[in-house]
């Protein structure tokens, strides 16, 4: 649909928030805590974090929870009953305060879950998520969205994008039918579009590289000492993958309790040594260097080759969270 622009007053956000909660929607938003800002379920407007670049964790758990039931079963003497989670009803979720990078990440994530077959659970969750993003007015040295075809005011992946203007009020860009529905449900809060454009109200995110150039370079870099060099300090944890809004690998685990149990899908990470370990004891990605190469190639070569969208939105979370200060931007720009 054609983007529709409105003005929304700063003071109207609380009303909007309360209306959405009142309509029975669950709201996930960055919440300020002692030493962190996390996307979490919020109950009241006052809980919302105000000053943040991005939350520490990503928002992907609203469509791809870190641990999620795929099915449960009950065994009796005669038969086994399977209760498929694909038949479950999922709640309507408002993602509030996501950044353009968070929103953009839903595009490759949705592609992945609709690759070989459509993942019913993912799609049912995704259909009920409304993405209300806020443009970035500041960034830090970890941010590189503009190098991966994103931007601090990009609308891709959002249902509505709010940009704070010089007056303190906000431009609301309504991008999708879902966004339009929210506007019509709360029409009194949305006024005629402002004169001011959003462009001068956005963070200046430096462009460090060009995604297409990196993709071309990576074609011939499978055997290269850079992978060992750049990953030498890597501790082999899954922090980078788990804070990443695009990483989608999971591991299926069964939890049985007597005659009943459930199958869970749990986040997994290519940084773990166990990730590709064969039963024989052979591991095709035996070193941390081989695992780091996989991470970079998957995001910047395999994914764009397959679905045109890179597997990285430049949010910089992985680098911020890395306990060993391994920096994805540093690796990519030194190729």
């Amino acid at each position: 649909m054609q983007t529709e622009n409105y003005l929304i007053r700063k003071a109207s956000f609380e009303k909007l928030f309360n209306n959405l909660i009142g309509n029975g929607k669950t709201i996930y938003a960055p919440k300020a805590q002692e030493k962190r800002i996390l996307f979490e379920k919020v109950q009241s407007f006052g809980e919302l974090a105000e000053d943040y670049i991005v939350a520490t964790n990503s928002a992907k758990s609203v469509v791809f929870p870190r641990t999620e039931k795929v099915f449960s079963y009950k065994k009796t003497k005669e038969s086994t009953e399977i209760i498929d989670a694909a038949n479950d009803t999922f709640p309507e979720v408002i993602l509030w305060g996501s950044r353009p990078c968070d929103a953009a990440a839903f595009i490759p994530l949705t592609d992945t879950f609709n690759g070989d077959y459509p993942d019913v659970i993912y799609n049912k969750r995704q259909a009920k998520v409304y993405v209300l993003s806020f443009s970035c007015r500041k960034c830090d040295s970890y941010c590189f969205c503009t190098s991966v075809n994103g931007g601090p005011g990009n609308t891709a992946g959002s249902d509505i994008l709010f940009t704070k203007l010089s007056t303190g009020d906000y431009l609301a860009e309504v991008v999708t039918e879902k966004g339009k529905q929210l506007v019509s449900d709360n029409s009194s809060l949305f006024e005629t579009k402002p004169e001011e454009s959003k462009d001068q109200n956005l963070a200046q995110v430096e462009t460090y590289f060009n995604q297409e150039e990196i993709q071309a370079k990576l074609q011939n870099l499978f055997e290269n000492p850079i992978w060992d060099e750049k990953s030498r300090a890597c501790l082999g944890c899954g922090s980078c993958a788990f804070v990443c809004p695009v990483c989608s690998c999971f591991d299926l685990q069964d939890e049985a309790h007597g005659s009943k149990g459930k199958r869970l899908r749990c986040w997994d990470s290519c940084g773990f040594g166990l990730f590709t370990l064969h039963t024989s004891g052979h591991n095709p990605r035996e070193t941390q260097g081989a695992r780091w190469r996989q991470r970079i190639l998957h995001k910047f070569l395999y994914m764009p080759n397959k679905s045109k969208t890179a597997g990285c939105v430049g949010c910089g979370r992985c680098s911020r969270s890395c306990p060993a200060n391994i920096n994805i931007l540093d690796t990519v720009t030194s190729l």
Binding site: E34, K35, R36, L38, T56, N57, R66, T67, D140, S141, Y142, D228, R232, A233, L235, G236, C237, G238, S239, A241, F242, V243, D251, Q253, E255, L264, C266, W267, S269, F272, L274, T287, Q288, G289, S319, R320, S321, P323, A324, N325, I326, N327, L329, D330
Partner: protein, 266 residues
């Protein structure tokens, strides 16, 4: 600093060691562990207040071991981990050269691992008053409240295992959480799985943890898991003697002494 750089370069030049593990300039004004193989690159070594990662973690990593004999830049927390690794037969006098850095940032050299242990006699582990108070308050809660406290604190854990990966004493090549036949610990990061993991992690460090806080520093969610190990350090101290690792004395929790005051084991 100049002394440290010269010493490190000399060790590489004479081929006494093949790699120097130290701190260098990282990204975003953070420090990063660096692995130097050329004497001229020793100029990259830095040491300042940003250098808090416990480098001892790299001493047992397969990728780093392959590089040859290391020299390691070791502040007090790193020295403590080295002694504990030695006590667990993971290091010997021949396996590394330790470039100690005193709290005054002065280079300290050691003749042997036992010499590090003696040096640490004057740098004993002390649990901060701030933490003593927090732990005391948690312990004073009724059981149900204390349980609820930990369930809530551990809620953000998504099991990236950064705590395990950053800990110099979590060097097992296969962790109990990775055992799936039978599965001892739930893999899922739900309340039970998270409790099981963090209790197990803490318990495996009982009598071994040297209070470096690497687990907490590494946690991307800033979960106060170091409170568990600090509390355990206090318990071990009260029940088994003083804080601190020892190469010659047996480990607190994995040794049996017929004169132990408890009677249940006899």
């Amino acid at each position: 600093m100049k002394e440290l750089i010269a010493k490190a370069a000399g060790l590489l030049e004479s081929n006494t060691v093949q790699v120097v593990i130290g701190y260098g300039q990282g990204s975003a004004d953070r420090s990063r562990a660096i692995f130097i193989t050329q004497p001229s690159d020793c100029e990259q070594l830095i040491f300042d207040s940003r250098c808090i990662q416990n480098l001892a973690v790299y001493l047992t990593k397969a990728e780093i071991k392959k590089m040859g004999k290391p020299a390691i830049v070791a502040s007090i927390p790193v020295l403590r981990s080295i002694v504990q690794l030695a006590a667990e037969n993971q290091l010997t006098n021949d396996s590394l050269v330790v470039l100690g850095v005193s709290p005054e940032s002065q280079l300290v050299e050691f003749e042997s691992l036992a010499a590090i242990e003696s040096y640490l006699e004057s740098h004993k582990i002390e649990i901060d008053e701030k933490y003593r108070k927090i732990i005391e308050d948690i312990k004073a809660k009724p059981v149900a409240e204390r349980f609820a406290y930990w369930v809530k604190e551990l809620e953000p854990c998504f099991k990236c295992y950064a705590c395990r990966a950053a800990c110099p004493l979590c060097y097992c090549t296969r962790c109990t959480v990775e055992n799936n036949q039978p599965q001892w610990i739930s893999v899922g990061s739900h309340p039970l799985g998270n409790l099981e993991w963090h209790i197990m992690r803490a318990m495996h460090l009982a009598g071994r943890c040297t209070d470096c806080e690497a687990c907490y520093t590494a946690c991307p969610m800033s979960i106060p898991i170091h409170l568990l190990t600090k509390s355990m350090l206090q318990d071990v101290n009260e029940n088994f003697g003083s804080y601190g690792s020892s190469i010659s004395k047996p480990n607190s929790l994995s040794s049996f002494n017929p004169d132990d005051k408890e009677s249940f084991i006899r």
